[in-house]
């Protein structure tokens, strides 16, 4: 029992003052005989109201699985695997039934996916798809919700929203569809938006527009955003804080400026070094991190990055380091961190 439990406050007030989302020791171990794939391995982070946290990592690092887990969107048999807590506004989502969870999805927590081309229902008008969560969660009439849907389309910067609301998805471009997806996700003004690689499938020029839109919508609605991406440039542009994932764990977490200025984990430093920079030109070869992300079979007992790490020490291979604060707001999981 902590001191907070003894204070004469009701839980809701405490929740309102605490972080919006607290993920604690989230673990998804998938048995892949003869191994166990530790796809998400004890991930903990917090997200405050109105804040944007970037979750960055290579493919296979477990970031999308983390997102799907906290949305409780995993399908059987994966749905049974996750352990840990996902506390949103004082409620542990992991303990909710599917019915209770479906009442929160789209209302308190929403998601935007990577693939705008296939994420919209092809045989339903765009307007109906935006109106649907408002009818379900806010109890609006279909007519009322359809009007609000047009308003949402205007808000996400779609010209001629009345016409687009009556159109089917195949008539829209990829960027337009992602705007429509964002309109669907934000229709009920959720407290949390999970955006899983929202710009990856889009043209570079459109990517910037969508990121600007997300930031603008955050100012308008006040949603916190968990932005999942493999692209550090996207993080730099949009997020307040960053969490770097490697092999199912968070290896470093810091405010954006602090992480880009002084990365403490050797993996983060390697990631940052491998971004091509115009001012470093001409550079003979782009620095890269040697080796590959370890598969489930060869994951070492200690730090998963140790086999690729230039600063590795004997104890790195023996025991995994904990995520510990090195500076205010800056945590890293490393036995031998870089200098700040």
């Amino acid at each position: 029992m902590t001191a907070a439990a003894t204070l004469p406050r009701d839980a809701r007030a405490a929740a309102a003052e605490g972080p919006l989302l607290a993920v604690r020791d989230l673990t998804v171990h998938i048995p892949v005989p003869p191994h166990v794939l530790r796809a998400v391995d004890g991930v903990s982070f917090e997200l405050n109201r109105g804040e944007t946290l970037g979750l960055v990592g290579e493919s296979g690092s477990g970031k999308t699985l983390t997102a799907l887990t906290l949305m409780r969107l995993l399908e059987p048999p994966l749905a049974e695997m996750p352990r840990g807590e996902v506390v949103l506004e004082g409620t542990d989502l992991m303990r909710l039934s599917e019915i209770e969870m479906s009442a929160l999805r789209g209302r308190t927590v929403s998601m935007v996916f990577q693939e705008p081309m296939t994420s919209l229902n092809p045989v339903m008008t765009v307007g109906r798809q935006i109106a649907e969560p408002m009818v379900r969660h806010l109890g609006l009439s279909t007519r009322m919700a359809t009007m609000r849907a047009e308003e949402m389309l205007r808000l996400v910067g779609i010209p001629d929203p009345a016409r687009v609301a009556r159109a089917y998805p195949h008539l829209l471009s990829g960027g337009m569809r992602q705007r429509a997806m964002i309109a669907i996700a934000l229709a009920c003004r959720p407290a949390l938006l999970v955006a899983d690689e929202p710009t990856t499938a889009l043209d570079v020029t459109v990517q910037a527009q969508i990121l600007d839109l997300l930031a603008a919508m955050q100012r308008e609605i006040g949603s916190a955003i968990l932005l999942i991406t493999h692209d550090l440039a996207v993080i730099a542009e949009t997020a307040h804080r960053v969490a770097v994932m490697y092999a199912g764990r968070i290896v470093e977490e810091a405010p954006v400026a602090s992480l880009f200025a002084a990365p403490r984990h050797p993996y983060t430093r390697g990631l940052l070094a491998s971004i091509p920079r115009i001012e470093r030109r001409p550079e003979p070869t782009l620095p890269e991190i040697p080796g590959m992300v370890p598969g489930p079979a060869e994951r070492p007992a200690g730090c998963a990055f140790a086999p690729r790490c230039g600063r590795a020490q004997p104890r790195c291979a023996a025991k995994a380091p904990a995520l510990l604060p090195l500076a205010p707001g800056h945590r890293a999981a490393c036995w031998n961190p870089e200098d700040g």
Binding site: M71, L73, E98, I99, S102, A103, L104, R105, G106, R107, S110, M111, F113, E115, T118, S119, L120, N121, P122, V123, M124, E132, P133, R136, H137, Y168, H170, M181, I184, A185, A187
Partner: protein
Amino acid sequence: MIGFVARRLLQAIPLLIGVSLIGFGLMHLAPGGPLAVYTLNPTIQAQDIERIRIIFGLDQPIHVQYVKWATGIFSGNWGYTFFGGRPVLDVILERLPATLLLMGSALSVAILLGLSIGVLGAVKRYSVFDVLATTGALFALSFPTFWFGLMAIFVFAIELRWLPSGGMWELGEEGNILSLLQHLVLPTLVLALVITATWSRYSRSAFLEVMHQDYMRTARAKGVPPRARLLRHAFPNAAKPLIALLGVEVPFLFSGALVTETIFGWPGMGRLFVDALGMKEYPVLMGMMMFTAIFVILGNLLADIAIAAIDPRVRLR
């Protein structure tokens, strides 16, 4: 949409001409010829046959015969039967209601059952129910329709005496709905059995495919409850291949009805076809072939229109 329908109707015309050419040709290549049946009758003499040949126009060159017959088809004169000299179209049309009744009831039962089994199987994939349904469908598909028909008669009509073994009415009770329904049960079940099996398989795979689409995850992510996801999001998408299946299944229904109607003595078009075949009633056979072809083409056209109504992307083409 109107242009789409008009275009499809125009496309049907060369198809029908092709069917009529092939059918007409096949009938004339058949050994014996239309009048072979009379040669076995000792009371009919050679000059009578010659006279019949001239009356029916069978002495004329084959292309003249075809043109006469084909223009007749399009103007409503489908020729006359060899036996009795009745208009072919009348003979076919008076059998149509019985066949439509049987096909309609069998199809309704089969779609309702097959769709439910398929959807349940897709939702509870690899469950005991799914495995049983799959095995059952395989069983139903691997036995011939007539076997099921005979077994049904043996069990329900002869042993249990619950239902009549054949016909459409009890003698002297023509027009009695209750009697009609009693007679309808067994042929409907037998005809529906095989269709249910195919439908459960097709709808299972159609729903499985749709349920793993990204937009179904989107529906979940915005909090649409399971039943609404199934009805509002999955169903319209999964229905497209099933409607197309319905369109091409019409000919199968005709052939299935043929066996079922014969076994149960159901006075429909299937029986008419079998009888006409036995009596070498060429005008009736060709008429029925054209009738079936028109039915199949119309069925497919309706299926295409229904798909276009569901899916806006189809209308563009």
